[in-house]
Amino acid sequence: MDLLKRYVPVLFLLAVVVTIQLVTHFTETTYYLTQLTMSAYYSIVVIGLCVLMGYGGQISLGHAGFFAIGGYLAGALTTHNLMTLKNYGFVSLLDKVGLLVDSKGLYGGDLLTVEPWAACIIAVLTAGVIAFAIGGPILKLKGHYLAMATLGFGIIIYRIGLASAYFGEADGISEVPGFILLPGIEVSGSFGARVLNYYIAWGMVIIAVILLLNLIHSRVGRALRSIHGAEEAANAMGVNTARYKLYIFVLSAVFAALAGVFVTHYNGGIGPSEAGVMKSVRYVAIVAVGGMANIWGALIMGILLNFLSLRGVFGSYDDAVFGMILIVIMLFAPQGILRINPWQQVKSFFSVPTPKSGKDVTD
């Protein structure tokens, strides 16, 4: 019964995804699918962050950093030519095990690059390991201090991408090849694969949603919420709070990195703006609009706002819009926009504040 309640919305989501594809097919507006695909990938970052923030009670202003670690590593490994290094033992060993691929470059030169699957695994593992390493010390911090520490991490990743030649400095990495997941299923931006990629992205979202829904309804999810509710008591009940916070941080970092890998292959490149602080703020803003501890809310707002942003609806005020959203949400709907009761808001806005009674006499 509970399971049914949990998965029915997932089926509904699947139906909506198919319907949208069919509608765009018959109205010949398939160009929308490109932005919907990208929004889907960004939403994976958002729902991962939602579980960290809404359930684990920890904030991260560095998730664009994890997204960038995934994207940049996948991009760099599958793009940089190792041909000149072919005679070195390590490279030839990798080649022999089948982790490298030979191909022809744009101008006919021979290319030797890391196989996308291997690159994906390396990229995601790296993000996970970095999250594990920095999570240990910084998750001891709370509130503003944690926000600042994660912000610092995001800035470091941004500057590394911008400063190192390996990651293409201000130009980023381009000409990233497609990622063949299974024979015939390739993540790439090629025109003919638009519909396929739309379904790949949404398939990923659905898997991610199911995994996270399962998690929050499990023993671990309950423990995470208890940490959010009263950390000291959670610890006294036998919850290893430090470890749970660390694991959920790593998990959300892995989700972000995975999204980064896929977006990079889909776009055929990645640039420093993906690692920027404003991107991290955007993810946090979307989680807040969605209602913090609400995966569906985060997903819906993630799709909607990213789609509008990618369509250029916000124009050059893009980042300003997300900043504004954050302010407005914190002021008027800290529970998220989907739980808002407009009449209540208007009433309380115009009412004279009265002292709260009854509730605070308990101590």
């Binding site: 671990v220 309950r222 308990t362 101590d363």
Partner: protein
Amino acid sequence: MALLEIQNLNRRFGGLHAVNNVSFNVEQGMIKAVIGPNGAGKTTLFNLIAGNLPANSGKIYFNNEQINGCKPFQIAKQGISRTYQNIKLFHGMTALENVMLGRHIRSKAGFMAGMLNLPWTWSEEKKIKEKSMEYLDLLGVAECADTEISNISFGQQRGVEFARALASEPTLLLLDEPAAGLNIYETAAIGRLIMKIRQSGITVLLVEHDMSLVMDISDEIVVLSFGEKIAEDLPHNIQQNEEVIRVYLGDD
């Protein structure tokens, strides 16, 4: 060997010697009370036992194992459970979910099992739920099982916190002022409940202000004053102990 042994425990906060060379034992199956005027160091003592504060020196043994230096969650796993003077429940969760947290150390589904929703976790969850309902029932707060915790009365919250502590099936239960904020009827009910808990084989160590409750239910009493143990005896001897009367009522 006693279940809990406290040896020469010390804790200072700057110049304040909050717990000064305190030693006593708690035998298996007894109800032991720690009393003392405000600021005597009772809650500090509790926080030292539960691992919320590190001791400056001294040792705490539980089941013959040294537990000072352990983290609170490790101490909980050893079989010590506690309640708080100013109730610490998990807000944003229902009463039932709060008690289910008490079963945390008695269950084992981890991140992977949770995310993949593995079939064996279903029966584990079901058992956690059933057991937790039993404890809510025992405390007489089953009717608020599905209510968010901030929407129930203070007395019910205390019941839920008790249920949560018992749900972990502890060997030793630490109760920090269980009767604080309760009226005389509720206090009497708590007293009966503590007796019942002891009958089920759980050892109880409590800190309490309410003298009538302490005198009624405890087997032994430790009296603290300014961080030092000034007496340890049976309840009726404590009532006649001149030193105790002096710290409670003043010199003349």
